[in-house]
């Protein structure tokens, strides 16, 4: 594999109309373990897949990527077997390829606009990205970016999810002294406590974070800012602050019976199993109650992760209940597909009305109203309306509510001075991610509400660029002529990185 590295890229076109398949654990095996489901490409498969790329001059895929990875350029390097070079190319724009390759909604982004869609499958950008990310991790390739000479400026990053990590990485590269504060005992945000092991192996995440430490980023765990220290005091100690505290506050449905034993928010369910490792109870100390039949409410990634996690705890039955139709399910396609393969029983157009319990306060059933699709609502999605008299009861002993999350309350309760929207998210200037306080920037789910890893990373990057400007010039705003020229902007963002 490595012997090819450095040889001149040659152009062999692979005219296959389908993606090079990726091997997976068979559904009948994988529902008995927490190991990763898709097994990744071999180097040969990666080269073969890259050879499908048309190397379009106008690169529609780059515009489709929220962080603007030069996809054709890295595919060209993969074609020639230069995996290290390809990896460097990705890392210029995305420092977590092993993670994004696994969790990005590629089908709505780069792959959606790929020219190959006209003939069949788009290029498997996500799979190649993952291959390269993993290659770095398994081959000990040193892609720690160049770090500029120290500037003497100090930045605090609050929250260690993808937004915070990206911002920390970019600022460290520019020579700023970065400290990341995290409320929990492990860094990574949702990547650690939410997304399950079988979809994103924790070892992958841990190694990416090690890379940041090598760049000089300091991590302070168990440090809920707003509680352990006021934001005001952090602002005094640091020249600038980035808030990436995420949307971690679980919403419930406000239906009767929701506080019965056996009803969990998706966050509690996933935190118990992922962060605390309850699937290994009693070897790990955090328990999860044995489950016989379970209903998961919702149809986003969180719901799919909860349902598939539940399936691995070996219940008799896992239902997924969603009030809209298949078309509106917000989860990544691959997750929906995997969930179905694993035998999750989908009940679409069902809206929970109440949860029933026994005399001990334990869940015994969930009652749902059947729905039909009506007129489109403000979001353009057809609004589900109740179907007269059609109730259905699911006999279950556990219910997981995965219908969305609001902004994390801990920090914001402490600093009313930051301007927010009526949904409680932080108001920022979208060009700079600067909040109503000039030295405080914010990005990720705390600004957008629950969104995606890559958008959080994009926000972290935009903020880092603006923070750098703010620290060096006193203003977060780009100079006017730079602002109107997106190429110059991209160049400015790439500045100082050792690529």
């Amino acid at each position: 594999m490595t012997d090819e590295a450095g040889s001149k890229p040659k152009r062999i076109l692979n005219r296959s109309t389908t993606k090079t398949p990726m091997r997976e654990q068979a559904p009948r095996d994988r529902i008995y373990n927490f190991d990763e489901v898709p097994l990744g490409y071999t180097p040969e498969e990666a080269v073969q897949e890259a050879q499908r790329c048309l190397l379009c001059k106008d690169k529609p895929c780059v515009a489709g990527c929220p962080v603007g990875v030069d996809i054709p350029a890295f595919q060209q390097l993969v074609m020639g077997g230069d995996f290290e070079g390809a990896l460097r190319k990705i890392k210029e724009m995305n420092f977590l390829p092993a993670i994004c390759g696994r969790v990005c909604p590629q089908e709505d982004q780069c792959e959606a606009v790929c020219r190959l869609n006209k003939r069949g499958d788009p290029g498997a950008v996500g799979r190649l990205e993952r291959f390269l990310g993993d290659y770095a991790l398994t081959h000990d390739v040193n892609v720690t970016p160049h770090v500029d000479a120290p500037t003497g400026r100090k930045v605090a990053v609050i929250g260690s999810g993808p937004a915070g990590l990206t911002c920390a990485s970019d600022l460290a590269q520019r020579g700023h002294e970065v400290t990341v504060f995290e409320a929990l005992h492990r860094p990574g945000g949702v990547l650690f406590y939410g997304i399950p092991e079988f979809r994103l192996p924790k070892a992958t995440l841990v190694r990416e974070i090690e890379g940041l430490k090598l760049m000089g980023v300091r991590f302070v765990m168990n440090y809920p800012v707003g509680k352990a220290e006021s934001l005001a005091s952090v602002r005094q100690r640091f020249d600038a602050v980035f808030i990436g505290t995420g949307a971690g506050l679980p919403w419930f449905l406000n239906i009767p019976g929701e506080n019965l034993n056996g009803v969990y928010s998706a966050n509690e369910f996933l935190t118990r199993v992922n962060l605390m490792g309850a699937y290994k109870f009693p070897d790990n100390d955090t328990p999860i109650k044995p489950i016989r039949r379970i209903a998961v409410v919702g149809a986003g990634n969180t719901a799919m992760d909860s349902a598939r996690t539940a399936q691995r705890l070996r219940p008799e039955k896992v239902y997924l209940v969603y009030r809209r139709s298949r078309l509106e399910m917000p989860a990544r396609k691959e997750e929906i597909h995997h969930a179905e393969e694993e035998g999750i029983d989908f009940h679409l157009l069902h809206s929970p009305t109440r949860i029933l319990g026994d005399e001990k306060g334990r869940v015994i059933a969930m009652e749902c109203q059947e729905m039909v699709l009506g007129e489109p609502d403000a979001s353009g999605r057809r609004r589900p309306v109740p179907k007269e008299g059609a109730l259905k009861t699911f006999e279950v002993d556990a219910v997981v509510i995965a219908t969305g999350q609001g902004p994390n309350p801990l920090l914001l309760a402490d600093c009313p001075e930051i301007e927010r929207t009526n949904r409680g998210t932080i108001v920022v200037n979208p060009q700079t991610m600067q909040s109503s306080l000039p030295d405080v920037f914010a990005g990720g789910d705390i600004v957008t509400g629950g969104a995606t890893v890559i958008l959080a990373m994009g926000a972290g990057r935009t903020a880092a660029t603006a923070i750098h400007r703010y620290l060096m010039t006193g203003s977060a705003e780009p100079r006017p002529e730079v602002a109107t020229d997106p190429d110059a902007e991209a160049e400015a963002a790439g500045e100082g990185r050792g690529a």
């Binding site: 679980p250 419930f252 009693p282 790990n284 100390d285 328990p287 306060g361």
Partner: protein, 290 residues
């Protein structure tokens, strides 16, 4: 990361007091707030109330009663050991009135929280009464420490082995009927005790704060495991509490929710017990080892 234990002292059987280095918690913590800690890498996160703090020394005091596996591990630690993870101060501080007459009613391990509350109340210029209870004499903790901040203190034990025989509610009823105007009651202890304390104070129309102790996972408002019903509304005790208007709390629901993992606790405890036996057996098998 730090969190070194500087003092470990047994207060009662299976009840330890620890003074731990945690400078920022010592700086910012207030009566009624809690910390979350983890003792071992595969361990649970458990909440413990801050019983005292010394900003100058950079230490906090916690009191832990061995009730589950994690408190079992915790209570085996000694001074010089480090607590793996410690986050805080979490939750809201107790609402401390000024210039009022307040009665603190504590039971069992809850008395560890009465201690800082009484201290804070006294410091704010209140007249402070305390009624503290325990099942039996040897389980009573911190009587002197609490008494130091109170204008009066009554101790009750269920079996009459010390203080007055009976329940804290008996003593409370007496105080409330004594003619002295009590402006507020603050209560902390077993849920069943708080429930009855609140029934009594409701009868007398005395506002009451109850400090709730639901199951918690993160303690940062992220999971909802700690949800309690107060005035018909769901609240997250870790961020909106732990103290709520006792007359509005659904104590029965709280008791049911607290009992949910009892089987798992028993399993974990059984394992602790087995481990202890194995350790003992090993010790006897290899003489010379401590």
């Amino acid at each position: 990361m730090g969190n070194r234990i500087v003092t470990a002292r047994e207060l009662a059987p299976q009840t330890m007091l620890f003074e731990i280095e945690a400078p920022h918690v010592a700086q910012r913590g207030q009566a009624g707030q809690f910390i979350i800690l983890r003792v071992v890498d595969h361990g649970e996160r458990i909440p413990l109330t801050i019983a005292g703090r010394d900003p100058a020394r950079g230490t906090i005091t916690i009191v832990a009663q061995e009730v589950g596996h994690t408190t079992h591990l915790l209570n085996a630690l000694r001074s010089g050991d480090e607590i793996l993870d410690l986050a805080g101060p979490l939750g809201k501080a107790t609402d401390i009135p000024t210039g009022k007459t307040v009665c603190c009613v504590g039971g069992g391990i809850g008395n560890a929280v009465v201690w800082p509350q009484a201290a804070a109340l006294k410091a704010a210029g209140n007249k402070v009464h305390a009624i503290i209870g325990a099942r039996t004499r040897e389980l009573l903790i911190l009587e002197q420490e609490i008494a130091a901040h109170c204008d009066s203190i009554v101790v009750t034990t269920d079996d009459g082995s010390y203080g007055r025989k009976g329940l804290v509610t008996d003593a409370l009823r007496e105080l409330l009927s004594s003619g002295e105007k009590i402006d507020e009651v603050i209560t902390i202890g077993p849920v069943i005790m708080m429930k009855f304390v609140c029934l009594v104070t409701k009868e007398f129309g005395v506002p009451t704060q109850a400090s709730l102790n639901p199951i918690m996972v993160d303690g940062t408002g992220m999971c909802g495991a700690c949800r309690v019903t107060v005035g018909g509304k769901t609240r997250f005790a870790c961020v909106e509490g732990p103290e709520f208007d006792g007359h509005e709390v659904d104590f029965d629901e709280l008791m049911t929710r607290l009992a949910f993992y009892r089987d798992e606790e028993t399993r974990a405890r059984q394992r602790d017990h087995d481990c202890r036996l194995t350790r003992q057996a090993e010790r006897t098998a290899t003489p010379g080892k401590p």
